[in-house]
Symmetry: C2
Subunit: 354 residues, 2 copies
C-alpha cells in the first residue's frame, strides 16, 4: 500500500479498482485521518482562502457608516464563496503587514479602495487576483463591481421633484471615496441642469455623532430645502429628529430619502423612503468574479486557461480592468410622497448588464 495509492483513492484520481478505493477510505475513516490543509496548499498552490479587505477609520476594522451595507455584502460574499468551496478571511487594510504576509490567499476582495492603495498594488503585482467593490481610482485591479451611483441619485432627485420638491438638499460626506464622490457629483450636475442652487452639508461619515449635527445644520439654513437626500444609513433618523426639532412635518413640509439597507425605516413614523444598494448582489458578484479569475488563469506560470471562459473574464493586456455596474433599488415609503405611498419601484435607468 503506497502513498500514491492512498492519495489517489481519497481524491478519486488515478486508476484504481473500486475495491481498493473503498478499502482505503474505510481505513482512513477509522483512523480519523484528515489531510493537512497546509501541505495541500503548499503542493497545489491553492489555499481556498479569499481575503476580504475593508477600509478602516481609526483603529476599528470595519467602516462604521456603511455598516449595514457592509454586513449584508460580507454575508452574501461569504455565502457565495462557500458555495464554490472557498472561505473568506477578514483583513482590514490597516492590518499589520506580517499578518497579511502570513496568509496564503488565492485572491482578494477589496471594498472601496482609496486611490493609489499601496496594499492593492502590492497584491496585484504579486499576482494575486484582486476584485474591488467600488470603482477603483488608480489601483490596478483584476475587475471591479459597483452600483450605478449616478443613475441612482438622478433617479431619487427626479422622484423627489415629481413629489413636488422645489429645493432638494443633500447630506453628504467629507471623505473622497468613490461612493461619496460620484453621488455628490451627480447631485451637483443635476442642480446645474435644472437650475437649482445646490444646498448641501458635509460631515465625516465615519463619525455617527456629527451626522446628527450636520442634519441639524442643513435644516437650520436660511435657504432650507423642502426635500433632502441623505447619503448614509443613519441620516434618515437624524433628519427625522432634526425635522421634529424644527417643527417640520414629514412628508408635508419636508420630503425625505436616505440610502440605507436597514428595515427600521419601514416602521419609523413616518416610514422613510430608502435607496438600497443591494449589497447582496454586489457581494455575490464580486466573489464570483474573483473566483472566476482565480480558477481561470494560473497566474504563476502564465498559462492562460482563461480561453475556456467567456471573454469578459480575460484581462486584455494593459487596458482598463473590466467593470460591472449593478442596479440599485428605491423603496418608496411615506416620507417622499405627498399622497399615499405607492409600491416599490425600480430606478429609472436600468444598467446594461446584470
Amino acid at each position: 500500500m503506497s502513498i500514491t495509492t492512498v492519495s489517489d483513492a481519497l481524491n478519486g484520481k488515478g486508476r484504481l479498482p473500486d475495491e481498493t478505493r473503498s478499502r482505503v477510505r474505510e481505513v482512513a475513516e477509522r483512523l480519523g485521518y484528515r489531510p493537512s490543509a497546509a501541505a495541500r496548499t503548499l503542493r497545489t498552490g491553492r489555499s481556498g482562502l479569499i481575503g476580504l479587505t475593508v477600509t478602516t477609520y481609526g483603529e476599528e476594522p470595519f467602516t462604521f457608516t456603511e455598516f449595514a451595507y457592509f454586513a449584508e455584502m460580507a454575508r452574501a460574499a461569504t455565502s457565495a464563496a462557500l458555495g464554490r468551496g472557498y472561505a473568506l478571511v477578514v483583513l482590514p487594510a490597516s492590518s499589520r503587514h506580517d499578518v497579511w504576509g502570513n496568509i496564503a490567499l488565492d485572491g482578494t476582495v477589496v471594498i472601496d479602495p482609496p486611490d493609489q492603495d499601496p496594499l492593492v498594488s502590492e497584491l496585484y503585482r504579486s499576482g494575486v487576483p484582486v476584485v474591488s467593490d467600488g470603482k477603483p481610482g488608480n489601483c490596478p485591479v483584476t475587475a471591479w463591481v459597483d452600483n450605478d451611483h449616478e443613475a441612482a441619485v438622478l433617479g431619487i432627485l427626479d422622484h423627489l421633484s415629481e413629489a413636488g420638491a422645489r429645493r432638494i438638499g443633500l447630506l453628504t460626506g467629507t471623505s473622497t471615496d468613490t461612493y461619496t464622490r460620484l453621488s455628490t457629483e451627480a447631485y451637483l450636475g443635476w442642480c446645474a441642469k435644472v437650475g437649482q442652487e445646490p444646498v448641501y452639508e458635509t460631515y465625516p461619515a465615519h463619525d455617527p455623532a456629527s451626522g446628527a449635527v450636520a442634519a441639524d445644520r442643513l435644516l437650520a439654513r436660511p435657504d432650507r430645502p423642502d426635500a433632502v437626500y441623505g447619503l448614509f444609513d443613519p441620516n434618515g433618523t437624524d433628519l427625522l429628529a432634526a425635522a421634529r426639532r424644527y417643527g417640520l412635518r414629514v412628508p408635508d413640509d419636508l420630503l425625505l430619502v436616505c440610502c440605507s439597507e436597514s428595515d427600521v425605516y419601514a416602521s419609523t413614523e413616518p416610514p422613510i423612503t430608502t435607496l438600497s444598494l443591494k449589497p447582496r448582489r454586489i457581494g455575490t458578484t464580486v466573489v464570483n468574479l474573483l473566483i472566476d479569475a482565480i480558477e481561470g488563469v494560473d497566474s504563476g506560470t502564465g498559462v492562460d486557461i482563461a480561453r475556456l471562459f467567456p471573454p469578459r473574464f480575460r484581462t486584455a493586456g494593459t487596458g482598463p480592468p473590466p467593470g460591472t455596474l449593478m442596479p440599485t433599488e428605491l423603496i418608496v415609503r411615506a416620507s417622499s410622497q405627498r399622497r399615499s405611498p405607492r409600491t416599490t419601484v425600480s430606478p429609472p435607468r436600468p444598467p446594461g448588464e446584470v
Copy 2:
C-alpha cells in the same frame, strides 16, 4: 550563502553578525521576496488563522436576529485577533465539510453552539482549541464566555418595577439557544418570585416579519402588560409601532425595554431603553482566551507550556470548561421612565471577574 543563513537573517534567529543580516534583508527586499505562508504553516504547524463559526438559519451564513450583536462582536474579535497576529476566517456551521477540512485552523471561536454540536465535537477531538461565545450545552469546549443573562433580565425587571410597572410582559423566541433559554427562565423565575402571572409571546427570532406580529399579539392580549421587555433587536421598533396602533402612549401607558446594540433607539420617538450585551467586550475576550489556549498549550506533542500562564487557562483534566461571565449594560432612556430619564446605569449584579 546558505538557506539557513537567509532564514535566520529574515526571522531574526540564529547567531549572525548584523552586517550579514542587513545584507540578506536588502537583497530579499530588492527581489520582492515573500515567504510562503503555506510552507511556513506546514513546517511550524501554525497558520495564524482562527475560525469564526456562526450558527445559521436557513442557508444564509449569519444569524439575522442577533445581527447587530454579531457584527459588533465579530468586529471586536477581528481587531483583537489582528492585534495578536491572527486573522479570522468566517465559517458558517453549515459549511460544506470539504471547506472546513481544507483550512488549517489554529483554533475556533464558535458562537452560541447548539447542544451536541457535531462540528464542535469533532474540532475539539482533533485537538483544535475551541472557545464559545455563549455557555455551551453539551459540547466539550476549551473555554466559554457569556453574559450574565439572568442578572441582566432580573435587573431590567426590577428597573421596570421601580418605574411603576404592575404587569411586565416578555417578547421572546422559540429557539432553544442559551440566550433565549436563560433569559426566559430568568423571567419566569422572577414572575414566580413576585407572584405575577407570566405574560409572554414567542416567535421564531430569525424571521423579522413575525416579530412585528408577535409584538402585536402581545399588546392585543386581554391581560395586556403595562411594560414589555423584548429579547431581540428589532423588538423595540416593532413594539413601538404596535403601541401606536393600539393608541398606547410610551412610556405613559406602556414601558418599553429591548435588547439591542443599535443606537437608532437613542433617536426614536420616544427614545427606547436598551440592554447592551457589550459584544465588543465579548468578542475581545473570546479571542484572547482562544489565543492564550493556542499559544499556551502545544496540543500536538502534549507538552504543557501552560504553566507559564495564570491557572484559569489550564484545562484541568475532565472538569467543566472554564467559563467567564461578562456584565451587560442597561442604557436607560425615556421609554422606561415615568419621569424624566436619568443617566446610564449599570446592572445590579456586577460579575466577579473582568
